[in-house]
């Protein structure tokens, strides 16, 4: 098979960081012998020994001990096995990971990465398809990123490990096996910078993680309607690259945000508010949101109805154009 998948890219990013910086540690549940339930850490234990290790089954402890290690100068990269299992660590993340630098008046840095496979579309059981980004992106002190493509996954993960700020790294499960042409290593944009994946003039589609692909597919389909849609991949949810979004909307006058999380207080809300405030006179229609429903993530046979797909995006474009 040519190219590399996102899983392979993440694996390689971990390996390269482990090789270059002996302060990097990788741990969590089932990351050693098994190589992670998605095989993101495959082979790393063999290669790096006890720098890649399994822990008992306790997420608060995984994040909490990582804090102590980061205080001591290590750069822990921990895995929450699934989005829905990051919640037991919520207190450690919100009360300590996010606040330690500030509390200590800058004395303590916590250079740690919390990797979380997130999002749906893989036919899984409950708690395995959540989109918890709002919880983290709303929390001051955290950096929250999500790659949409395999090459970016590699580069973003390496930058996240090198960041002196703690990073919540959201890996879109449904994109894990998608292959990218080319060879590693690659260097993509910095954390905090969004990428225009496709330029266009009719309207701006904004996605991240799993929905960038949906936006790109909608853009292709939209050209049948004569629409020239711009697609932006956020890459970083916090900080948010507002200026790239504003530039785009100043050109297109219309924007649609697409994500799997529910609409209510989803990223779309923040983006719509900022764009409305900062590009008020450019907008010819309200920023629209195409999102998962505001319901608990549904069972496998129903998820297709829940997830934002190409048709819903195109409907939203049409609605936007009708203003």
């Amino acid at each position: 098979m040519s190219g590399f998948s996102m899983v392979e890219a993440l694996n390689r990013a971990l390996a390269d960081e482990l090789a270059e910086d002996d302060k990097v540690l990788v741990f969590g549940q089932d990351v050693a012998a098994l190589g992670g339930v998605f095989r993101v850490t495959e082979g790393l234990h063999d290669r790096f020994g006890d720098r890649v290790f399994d822990t008992p089954l306790a997420e608060s402890a995984i994040v909490g001990t990582a804090i102590g290690m980061a205080m001591y100068g290590y750069r822990p990269v921990v895995e929450m096995q699934f989005d829905g299992f990051s919640y037991p660590a919520f207190e450690q993340i919100v009360s300590h990971v996010a606040k330690m630098r500030n509390r200590s008046r800058g004395h303590i840095s916590l250079p740690m990465v919390i990797r979380i496979p997130f999002g749906g579309g893989i036919g899984s059981v409950e708690h395995h398809s959540e989109s918890p980004e709002t919880y983290f992106a709303h929390t001051a002190g955290l950096t929250v990123v999500s790659p949409a493509a395999a090459d970016d996954a590699y580069s973003l993960l390496r930058s996240s490990i090198r960041s002196d700020d703690p990073v919540v790294f959201l890996e879109p499960k449904s994109r894990y096996w998608h292959r990218h042409e080319g060879t590693l290593p690659v260097t993509t944009l910095n954390i905090g910078v969004a990428q225009v994946r496709r330029p266009g003039t009719t309207a701006t589609l904004i996605g991240y993680g799993p929905t960038v692909e949906v936006c790109l597919a909608a853009a292709v389909a939209g050209s049948d309607e004569g629409w020239d849609l711009e697609v932006i991949d956020l890459r970083s949810l916090s900080p948010l690259d507002t200026s790239t979004l504003i530039s785009s909307v100043e050109k297109t006058g219309r924007a649609i945000v697409v994500h799997e999380a529910g609409s209510f207080l989803g990223m779309g809300a923040e983006i719509a508010s900022q764009l409305t405030e900062k590009a008020f006179y450019s907008l010819q229609a309200p920023v629209l949101r195409v999102t998962g429903f505001d319901i608990p993530y549904p069972s496998a046979q129903l998820e297709a109805y829940h997830l934002p797909g190409v048709d819903r995006v195109l409907d939203a474009v049409a609605r936007s154009l009708s203003y």
């Binding site: 037991p88 059981v125 409950e126 429903f293 505001d294 608990p296 496998a300 129903l302």
Partner: protein, 370 residues
Amino acid sequence: MVDNPIETNSPGSGTRIDPGIVRCLPDQTRPTSRLLEHKLTSDELLHLYQRMVEIRRFDELAMSLQRQGQLGVWASCLGQEAAQIGSAYALADQDWVFPSYRETAVGLMRGITPGDLLHQYRGTWLGGYDPYKHRFAMNSIPIATHALHATGLAMAAKRAGDNLVSVAYIGDGATSEGDAHEAMNFAAVFAAPVVFFVQNNHWAISVPLSAQTASPTLADRAPALGFRGMMVDGNDVAAVHRVMSDALEHARGGHGPVLVEAITYRIESHTTADDHTRYRTAAEVEEWRERDPIARLEHHLDSLGMLTDDIRRSTREAADAKASAARIEILQLSAGDPTELFQHVYHGERPLLQEQREMLRAELRAWEEM
């Protein structure tokens, strides 16, 4: 050898049963120093044998349905039948069960139909049965969290003066979670009628027991928190039944919670999505296959002269027939009207969800018209 040390223990708190692991049925694979009396009649033993065979057959069915793409995933309980069936058989109707995702045998023992039980794995809905009818709470996937629900329900029942015990089924891995500790501590402090039934199957996905705890037992957690802990051979259905009966009696009698550590083994991979050959040896699995709980009981029944070829055959046939019926029931499961997605989120109606439901309804209509 038959002995009876369980009754000699002071009830109430802080004690762990001697002499360690309770066994009632001979184990062919190792010398057993002493066996305790069990509390089952021959008819009951035979009944349990039949249920174990039937439920194993069901587990095989589920495995094969998963392979055929009819189930999204399957978490087999193969090898843990004695632990699950022996404990479930000791329950009274009014008792409540709080299961994890692996308690298929317990669910079937509580009278839930295979179809109702498997919605979650077929992906047709997140749950499927009426938990009140069977006193079998919703499967809990987030590890150890439901131990708190079991404790809360026990506190409630005690307050209401109702004579019931609430049983939390958790795994060895689950004992590492903060919630497991908090549940045990609350249960002890409020002397709630809960049994924490820990199936120590030696693995939490790929993490072995030795990486989960530095202690030789999980049962010792109980006396450290001021309540009773017991250990049982989880592959010995009669011993499980006996220890569980004692535990339930203790809790029912107002003496507070009990932790039962049932030592068993997960023969299959964690789920069908897992590959256990990556992290454990074939020899280890083989060793435990030889301690198969059904074979153990079979051997015992045989030694009592109770297992004719006829019974073996009829047991197998009954199991096959039930599996066929189950197969049909499972394949008929469907997700139903997608707009039900909005129906159970709240008791009351919500404008935001009404809007979203109308949008979906319009889409469904449009798709139909195409």
